[in-house]
């Protein structure tokens, strides 16, 4: 089987899905959001806060497919401890690139490369990977990081 089809469910993706990062509660929650995928009912609950040095703290609880779960885990791993503005930029880049209106073939945004390079073989699943990042962008926007 060609590699690009295997990588959609690579060992790394499955490891993130089975043992997700960022599920522990955080201290002072500034925003909590909940987003759903209307196609399948998958759900991401995300809370964000700030550490003492002003970087981002996140806690995610995801009920969904392997790609959604892995994406939520990867997101938590990627953005925990970075400035909120940088996290917003990442979330914006990813949600735009994986928008349902984005042209095909999909261009997988750089922050997703290590894990989701196989996503271009299954573009119908972009919404699964995007959902946690939709949650992050919504939480950061509600917190006033960007309008």
């Amino acid at each position: 089987m060609p590699l690009d089809r295997v990588t959609l469910y690579s060992a790394e993706v499955l490891a993130h899905a089975r043992s997700p990062h960022g599920t522990a509660p955080i201290g002072l929650v500034r925003q909590s959001v909940e987003v759903d995928n209307p196609l399948c009912g998958d759900q991401v609950r995300l809370s964000i806060g700030l550490t003492q040095d002003g970087t981002l703290a996140v806690s995610q609880q995801t009920r969904g497919c392997a790609l959604c779960g892995a994406s939520a885990s990867w997101m938590a791993h990627q953005v925990h401890g970075i400035p909120p503005d940088s996290a917003w930029t990442q979330s914006h880049e990813i949600t735009e690139a994986l928008s349902n209106l984005a042209p095909l073939p999909l261009l997988i945004p750089r922050p997703l490369h290590p894990l989701f390079s196989g996503l271009h073989t299954a573009p119908a699943r972009r919404g699964c990977v995007r959902l946690p990042w939709d949650a992050l962008k919504l939480a950061l926007t509600q917190d006033g990081v960007r309008a």
């Binding site: 089809r5 469910y9 009912g41 497919c65 392997a66 790609l67 073989t121 299954a122 699943r125 699964c128």
Partner: protein, 409 residues
Amino acid sequence: MTEPLDVARLRAEVPALSREVHGHRVTYLDHAATAPTPQVVLQAVAQAYGPLNANVQRGVHTMSAEASAAYAAARSKVARFLHTDPVQIVFTRGTTEALNLAAHGIAATRLRPRSRVLVSRQTHHAGLVPWQLMGAPRGAHVEALPCTPTGQLDLDATERALRAGHVAAVCVPVASNVLGTYTPVRELAELAHDVGAVMVADAAQAAPHSPLDVGALGVDVLAFSGHKVFGPTGIGVLWARRSLLEKWPPWQGGGDMVQRVRFEGSTFREPPHRFEAGTPPIAQALGLHAALDWLENIGWKAIQARERVVRDGLWQRLRQVPGLTLLPGPADLPMASFTLGRHHPHDVGSLLDQLGVAVRTGRHCADPLHTLLGLDSTVRASASFLTTDAELDRLVAGLSHVREVLGAP
């Protein structure tokens, strides 16, 4: 004795079934979403954009007259399929638009404050949301028809719900797009009529498997889609009793649906033209005509006999898959919806796709039924008379592949 179908010969007439997906011959098990288009339909559509390329019902030249005749012939063909007459056939973009038109007409003529519209929990969203949109501004309520825990209609409780009063309309699918089971439409229509309600039937899933007799079904309104009966996308059919169509106001304005147009106001043509504003789906209508001819020439009895074999083969195979749970059935149609243990249906669907097996995953535009069954989403394998035993075997082999990648369910 019905002559068995030459499935291989028929499959050769359907180009999509010979393509490859990810290096594998496609195993197409998503007929309930859209049926693959036979060559005769492609030719009919090409004809519409070739020698018959003209607008209809408004030109005096020969090409327009020929196109108009072909368009009228398509309407007559659909009327024969439904055992009715052409004046009660309105062409729409699909079942969804047909049901929206029906809700619009019924709302305008029958929905009042406290009116009730009863809808099956098995409904596709297209059989529910239009009533919510039309009902809310008029103070009407949309309620679920009583059903069993497995989603089947509870006729005794339904009779009581109907007799509680103020029921303006009842809307059900003739067959569920998730369970593949038939609704007892005839019995329900009698109950609905006893309380003066209009009986609306969504036949999108039923139409590909049998010609429909609107008189025998006892319904007042019925809708189906072209692309699910091996015709083109972009065309659907609304049938409604003439007495209803004549009362319904127009829902879209434009050319061809008017008699006289003045700035002071306009007057409108008789049905069905009143409901077909603008240039209609001409090529799609010709394609639908060709699709219904194709099915008729194959023979409905032979189609139904083959589909029973396919359905039984599908269910028999899926029952033996470890960790697989079938939704309540058995289905009347050649389809099955299921879950595979803890594995998410989208993951199952994507891994099947890697092997060229096309199934539908998600909620299938049937949230209320999934909610009733306590499920977020499911996998649906929907076949047809074109499905082979080898394809059903590939589905099962694909489910083994899912277990290899994701682990035991």
